[in-house]
């Protein structure tokens, strides 16, 4: 086994453990489990940088583009984005909600890390047949938009769980572990607003790039369609949240379903579709 494989395996296992502890700490509300989970999260996140650094070495533009365009690189960057955002959450104004958010986010990241494992040596790459300095901007801004969409999903799960618990009128054991409905609702609106903003910006840059290089705004590739559909779904959730025509509980259910639909389509198409623009060929 190479150093890359060993470090990736250790980081993935430790991260999975931290995800398990995050879920258990929310379930049991044991301070000790929470502290251990958070420490393990920070440790495994630090360790997760090692395989990335090994893959991106030597640090030059050609290698950067090559690794980023690979299937493993794609999953790695997505997971890393989520990890960095979780680290940011740990110190931001939302830090008091880190525990419930981590209980949803860390298992998700862990699944993403595990999903990437079969592709560590995959030769499949996104063949970028255009060269433009705005391309990294387009990719990273779009990814940040998707990241915020994920956080609106996590917040929606929390909202739905808390409202169901409040309506159950049973013990307050679980209710105590979650933030208030109103604060989750504010968080969800914040997340979906940023998601829409970033994804719109990413799309606009993408459209501009396609127009400059191909003289058209749309190439009708399957992944482009999926991105546009995602954007429309996010716009829908944003409008629902902003206009408050239906209850926050129902909006949260819609948000959860749309995210799951968008995400599973996204992952599945990344793996299965080989043809066309944006695809891993």
């Amino acid at each position: 086994m190479t150093l890359f494989e060993i470090s990736l395996a250790v980081a993935t296992i430790l991260f999975a453990l931290s995800a398990l502890l995050a879920v258990l700490s929310l379930h049991s509300d044991r301070e000790g489990l929470y502290r251990k989970g958070k420490t393990l999260f920070l440790l495994s996140s630090g360790l997760y940088l090692v395989p990335g650094l090994l893959r991106y070495y030597p640090f030059n533009a050609a290698n950067f583009v090559d690794v980023t365009a690979s299937m493993w690189g794609y999953f790695y960057l997505l997971a890393l984005f989520l990890i960095l955002t979780m680290v940011y959450f740990g110190f931001s104004r939302w830090k008091s909600y880190w525990k419930p958010i981590a209980a949803i986010t860390l298992p998700f990241i862990s699944v993403m890390q595990i999903l990437s494992l079969p592709f560590i040596h995959s030769p499949r790459r996104v063949i970028v047949d255009l060269e433009n300095n705005l391309l990294p901007v387009h990719i990273s801004v779009t990814m940040v938009g998707e990241l915020f969409f994920f956080f609106s999903f996590a917040g929606s799960v929390l909202y739905a769980v808390l409202e169901l618990q409040l309506r159950k009128k049973s013990s307050m054991k679980f209710i105590y572990r979650l933030p208030s409905l109103e604060s989750i609702d504010k968080f969800n609106l914040w997340a979906i607003t940023w998601s829409l903003g970033f994804l719109s910006a990413g799309l606009l840059v993408g459209i501009g790039l396609v127009y400059v290089h191909y003289g058209t705004f749309f190439l009708f590739s399957p992944k482009e369609v999926i991105i546009y559909v995602s954007w429309l779904l996010i716009l829908l959730v944003f409008l629902l949240r902003y206009r408050r025509r239906i209850s926050s509980f129902r909006i949260s259910l819609v948000n959860i379903l749309l995210f799951l639909a968008a995400m599973s389509t996204f992952v599945a198409t990344n793996i299965m579709i080989r043809a066309g623009f944006h695809s891993f060929k």
């Binding site: 409040l166 009128k169 013990s171 307050m172 054991k173 409905l181 239906i246 209850s247």
Partner: protein, 425 residues
């Protein structure tokens, strides 16, 4: 420790031993003059307990019982069957359980810790605590904090009014920005509103048939409360975030239709309704409406029952924490017993060594330079330390391990005394 609690003694007997705050200092002085080295007097509505650290345990217990006889004006025979006496580890374990609210009538209640702290403060002010009780009570406060943070014992409120405010906090982010409406002048409704006022709820409105009664409630709870006639509740409901109903009315005061309209006007913001009236003031069908969180008195009581079950489940975990902290304290305490003896033996040897060195320095070692004499000093010190090493280690070993019974500890004391006597002048 000697004491009585709701578990062993009826209230009419307990109250005879309960001293008002202004009499506690004189009681502490009295026990001090009676030769009890350290003492803390804990008195709550459920217990009266005296914690003392003494050298002569049987004699001090007699003295304490005499003082109790005096303050209660009762014969010893009338209260002795009701009291419990605990010594050493049992007494430590008991205090830690009391402070952690594991021995309370309502397990996990908040009051007891502040009462124990108050009792300790009284003793501190009268300088009636020393190394043992200071360490013990600080340990008790630490243990109580651990039990609160490391178990869920305090996470399950039992009072209906408190549950209502806690539920509101799980719906709204900041109660100080919210508006509450009390409908009717029922006792429980008033109590719930009082709790909300304590949580700084932003704005209070009281609706009642009799405006005079509404004004009385406003005077008692919140002088800035708005008062409206009962008929206006439908109109102002949309502006409210929390509505507490406790009016006596044969018909529903807030129907599903009214609440649906209220929600529409509120722009789908959540609305928290507490209906504690019987018959109910709010149409029960309204609870199926989105964004309506409706709780009646049965709902709140069933939450209280569930919370109680959860608290009792946590007792086992909390007891383990208390046991481990007790063991830690006893280890410190038992080590403490031989420390004075060790210090005395070391001092005695050092005294002999220094006096002999001084004598020799004047006569047979006067030719030595300062530096050489320091070497001799170091040498004698090394010989003394090595000679004493084994006896001291044996003394320490006697006390290691904790959890020793009364007899074993008595034997340790006897051996310590014997070793001390061997080296005494």
């Amino acid at each position: 420790m000697v004491g009585m609690s709701h578990k062993t003694t009826p209230v009419d007997l307990r109250e005879c031993f309960s001293l008002p705050d202004d009499r506690v200092p004189s009681f502490l002085d009295k026990t001090g003059s009676a030769g009890i080295e350290e003492l803390v007097y804990v008195s709550t509505c459920n217990r009266v307990e005296i914690y003392a650290a003494v050298r002569d345990v049987p004699g001090s217990m007699e003295t304490l019982l005499g003082i109790l006889e005096e303050i209660s004006s009762l014969s010893r025979a009338s209260f002795e069957p009701h009291i419990y006496r605990k010594y050493s580890r049992d007494a430590v374990l008991h205090l830690l359980k009391v402070a952690a609210s594991l021995d309370s009538m309502v397990v996990g209640e908040n009051e007891i810790l502040s009462q124990v702290k108050k009792a300790y403060r009284h003793s501190i002010q009268k300088k009636r605590t020393g190394i043992v009780l200071n360490k013990l009570f600080h340990q008790a406060f630490r243990t109580a904090k651990r039990v609160r943070t490391e178990t869920e014992i305090a996470h399950n409120p039992l009072s209906i009014a408190y549950i209502a405010t806690e539920l509101a906090k799980k719906i709204y982010d900041n109660l100080s920005e919210k508006k509450a409406l009390l409908v009717g002048a029922g006792e429980m409704g008033e109590l719930i509103l009082k709790y909300f006022t304590k949580q700084n709820v932003g704005d209070v409105t009281i609706a009642n048939r009799s405006l005079h009664n509404a004004e009385r409630i406003a005077l008692e709870i919140n002088r800035e409360a708005h008062i409206i006639p009962l008929e206006d509740i439908g109109a102002c409901a949309a502006e409210m975030d929390i509505i507490i109903t406790s009016a006596s009315s044969p018909v529903c005061l807030l129907t599903s239709e009214m609440l649906r309209e209220t929600l529409r006007r509120r722009g789908n913001q959540p609305l928290f309704l507490i209906d504690i009236a019987v018959p109910r003031n709010i149409d029960p069908a309204a609870q199926s409406l989105p964004n309506i969180f409706l709780y009646n008195v049965d709902d709140l009581e069933s939450i209280a029952d569930e919370n109680l079950k959860n608290r009792l489940n946590e007792v086992e975990i909390a007891s383990r924490l208390v046991e481990s902290d007790t063991a830690e304290f006893m280890e410190w305490y038992e080590g403490l017993e031989v420390v004075p003896a060790i210090v005395r033996i070391q001092n005695r040897f050092d005294e002999i060594r220094n006096s002999e060195l001084r004598r020799y320095r004047k006569r047979r070692l006067k030719h030595l330079s300062e530096e050489d004499f320091r070497i001799v000093e170091d040498l004698t010190n090394q010989i003394m330390t090595k000679t004493l090493h084994n006896p001291i280690m044996h003394l320490k070993r006697y006390t290691d391990g904790g959890n020793k019974g009364h007899d074993v500890r008595e034997r340790i004391r006897e051996k310590t005394r014997l070793i001390e006597e061997l080296f005494d002048k």
